[in-house]
Symmetry: C2
Amino acid sequence: MNPTHLAGPVLVLGSGLLGASIGLGLRAHGIDVVVSDPSPSAQAVAVDIGAGRGFDDAENLEPELVVVAAPPDVTAAVVAGALQTYPSAVVVDIASVKVAVAAELADILGPNRGMLERYVGTHPMAGREKSGPVAALGELFNSMPWVLCASEVSSQHAVKVAHSLAIDLNAVVFRFTPDEHDAAVALVSHLPQVMSSLVASRLQETPPHALSLAGNGLRDVTRIAASDPALWVQILGANAPKLLEIMLGVRADLDRLITTLSAPTAPGARLDMAQLMAEGNAGQTRIPGKHGGPAQQYTWLTVLVDDKPGQIAKLLTEIGHIGVNVEDLRMDHSAGLQVGMVEISVLPSKRVSLVEDLTERGWKVIL
Amino acid sequence: MNPTHLAGPVLVLGSGLLGASIGLGLRAHGIDVVVSDPSPSAQAVAVDIGAGRGFDDAENLEPELVVVAAPPDVTAAVVAGALQTYPSAVVVDIASVKVAVAAELADILGPNRGMLERYVGTHPMAGREKSGPVAALGELFNSMPWVLCASEVSSQHAVKVAHSLAIDLNAVVFRFTPDEHDAAVALVSHLPQVMSSLVASRLQETPPHALSLAGNGLRDVTRIAASDPALWVQILGANAPKLLEIMLGVRADLDRLITTLSAPTAPGARLDMAQLMAEGNAGQTRIPGKHGGPAQQYTWLTVLVDDKPGQIAKLLTEIGHIGVNVEDLRMDHSAGLQVGMVEISVLPSKRVSLVEDLTERGWKVIL
């Protein structure tokens, strides 16, 4: 079963960041997109930015596909409505939890649950720190994972159409069961979110001079603590059982740590502390590299640059001339002044010659 | 009291990453540096890379300053020895905890604790993911915080010499009491470290396909989980009381979260969850921006680039021509393929004209 391009029309229900981005991306292929939102102004903005034409009650629309891009709390109800209103359409949702939506959907449909053969739950793993149609972007899903969670009753046709949607938006398709999906996102998304919030929460009543010592470690760990509570409450609530299991494991480790900190000179305390840190090392190395490759596929090197306009550009221009692709780049957040360190990651095979070439051109490279 | 440049000679005890970096940085000012390490090979490497001349027993050295750059566990003993061996020298250490070192030092010196007038505890907040003299770098402390923790008995002269050390290495000096220092680093450094390790630890037994969904959030939160357990056990052990207090607060919040996750539809559960997330928001916004400025001093914008050699360089070159300084830059870690998003931060006052100029030059800027 090869996915083909969507034929359309595609009805997008919900014109927030993700719905409007889907509309924009499909419109770029010339696909007929209709956008609908309970908020007339949100719908109008989505239409204005080119995410599709506005929904018109009078039109006898027969969509090939309905994409439900509603908040997680109302997703199941909107999916059920779409399955009933458009009896020949495939319906997908894009909520970031899947088991709870599927269960609620089966409840709502009751005797009509045969309709679920036309439904596929999906989860595009893309987003931005901003929300709403104004932040929408047709390229939002480019190269990002899009998880398809077909159920046992999803038809081959429905899966093929859902797959086509992801492919048309240049996403990378993964196939998970709803249960596998929810367990995976509890771990890779919901766990870091709540832990980041717990760390940031401790900073609320600190004297400002303590925070003046903040470095990259604190900044990295707390970056996602800026996320929107309203959305996250829906996500965490809907995936509570899976996340709970993980958080109980965290609490057991935290209790081990608290025991060692309470009596740091007790026999075995240091060994326990080292063991906890080593377990963190072991887990961290399992995270795959960019492009879904194996972990640590790239190698980092550090270059000193003056902190003034044009220096990093000059560096990257020269790396471009040398013909090496910079896979990732980080700048050091320092406390002031004029010299910075830029870390760049490159393919290990390019490393030695790049260091030689840069050094020859007068850059100070630190290995 | 204005710090002046050091006159030397400076004796650096310990030639790991930090000791060797201090030697290199001082040598760049032409200061006479002597390096000493219990490991003859580590000392030889430090000498080879130009961090100073090797310690010679036969020489009657009278250092202006002794810098103790030993592991935290032995710092107090080495400081005590230096105070006794070099009766006219100022002695500083650079361990990342200060109260425990000061207490142990007073114990060791006993009736000789009058010598402490020549001692100042300090903490340069710089480091790299690598260790050892091979990774040393004279510029390591450039623009980074260097905390001076003078005690009540530290002489003005001793503080002035310690200050000069930090200034000669281009660091940014902060003055804290030992107690304030340990409370601050427990919060901004030790807390994120252990929380990052606790998150990463959960990844140890996950099926790899779950980790294929890992995004920037997980990567950011777990980056420092790669840190060295042997070093961190010494740091956490020495600052256990301060960190314990913070971790008990974390456990109280974690228990609140676990309660809501155990019964996510119970009355008040959602409100509690939202409250926890909002507390994280509130703490996160208190972290100051780069250059020690107020939080969120810079504004971010996103530019689409092709993921091939030279594209980011081209973008930054053009930004350089426009005359705007890029304060920070992040690349999106996506799951594959050819288009990426680059986020750059600039001064808010430059934002509007930069967006216009970039758009005119054909870049796709996302606001």
